[in-house]
Amino acid sequence: MNVFYLMVSAALFALGAYGVLARRSAILVFMSVELMLNAANLALIVFAKAWGSLFAQGAAVLLIALAAAEVAVGLALVVAIYRTRETTLVDDLSELKG
């Protein structure tokens, strides 16, 4: 069972990586990042069960709180970019190219 959920976690991480690379809207790229973060959290919980460690579960709680902070700032940035550029497509946000 442990290895099965580790494989599910790996597959979800890969799906998230695909989303980050293939999606074109900044919000959806961000959602794919959340999927990857959750896959990592799932692996952490599986390891917590394998080692019987409550501290790993505590780390996962802190990770979820960190993800909430990240989402707050990230979505604020997306909205701020939309206000100034009228777009959230990552292909259009190319002003930093060299």
Binding site: M1, N2, V3, F4, V8, A10, L12, F13, A14, L15, G16, A17, Y18, L21, A22, R23, R24, S25, I27, L28, F30, M31, S32, L35, N38, N41, L42, I45, A48, K49, A50, W51, G52, S53, L54, F55, Q57, G58, A60, V61, L62, I64, A65, L66, A67, A68, A69, E70, V71, A72, V73, A76, L77, V78, V79, A80, Y82, R83, T84, D91
Partner: protein, 170 residues
């Protein structure tokens, strides 16, 4: 290893796939919310009940609603508008993701739990709030306080970034 776990794993993969493939952004966000709820259920089955509820409340409840709000706010209903400037990107992205998946599978393939299932269950005692409390509020009190401060700073930053007047409309 029984049917429940197989079913949950398959549902996790299907909703995850839908979340990165659906054309409509709202549908993708709702698929991701379903994925997070299922993840909470899996946490509860993996002896992490408190964390399962936290996952459902924070991720499926708060974070995904925030995502749906922002999608509605920005009229970003269509996930893939207009012409694709990089036509070969999708197969390349799928290839890179598949490579990452294989690497992770290789890393996980030889995994064996260091203690027995019964010993782990006894040590975790379901991961309920009762046993998580001492971990979070005694051992890791300062970490919890730091994360709380970080959340406050992030909230203030989110409000400050979106404050009208400065750096807003150009």
């Amino acid at each position: 290893m029984n049917l429940v776990h197989l079913f949950l794993g398959a549902l996790l993969l299907v909703t995850g796939f839908l979340a990165v493939r659906l054309k409509n952004a709202v549908h993708a966000a709702l698929a991701l919310a379903a994925n997070f709820i299922l993840m909470g259920v899996v946490y509860m089955l993996l002896e992490a009940r408190f964390l399962g509820w936290i996952q459902i409340i924070v991720y499926a409840g708060a974070i995904m609603v925030l995502f749906v709000f922002v999608i509605m706010l920005l009229y970003a209903k269509e996930a893939e508008p207009g012409v694709d400037p990089l036509p070969g990107l999708r197969p390349a992205a799928a290839g890179i993701a598949a490579l990452g998946f294989l690497a992770l599978l290789y890393a996980f393939s030889g995994f064996k739990a260091p203690i027995t299932e019964e010993a782990a269950q006894a040590a975790l005692s379901g991961g309920s709030a009762e046993v998580m409390g001492p971990v979070l509020w005694q051992t890791w009190l300062y970490a919890v306080l730091l994360v709380a401060a970080l959340l406050l700073v992030a909230t203030v930053a989110a409000v400050a970034i979106l404050r009208p007047g400065e750096g807003g409309k150009r």
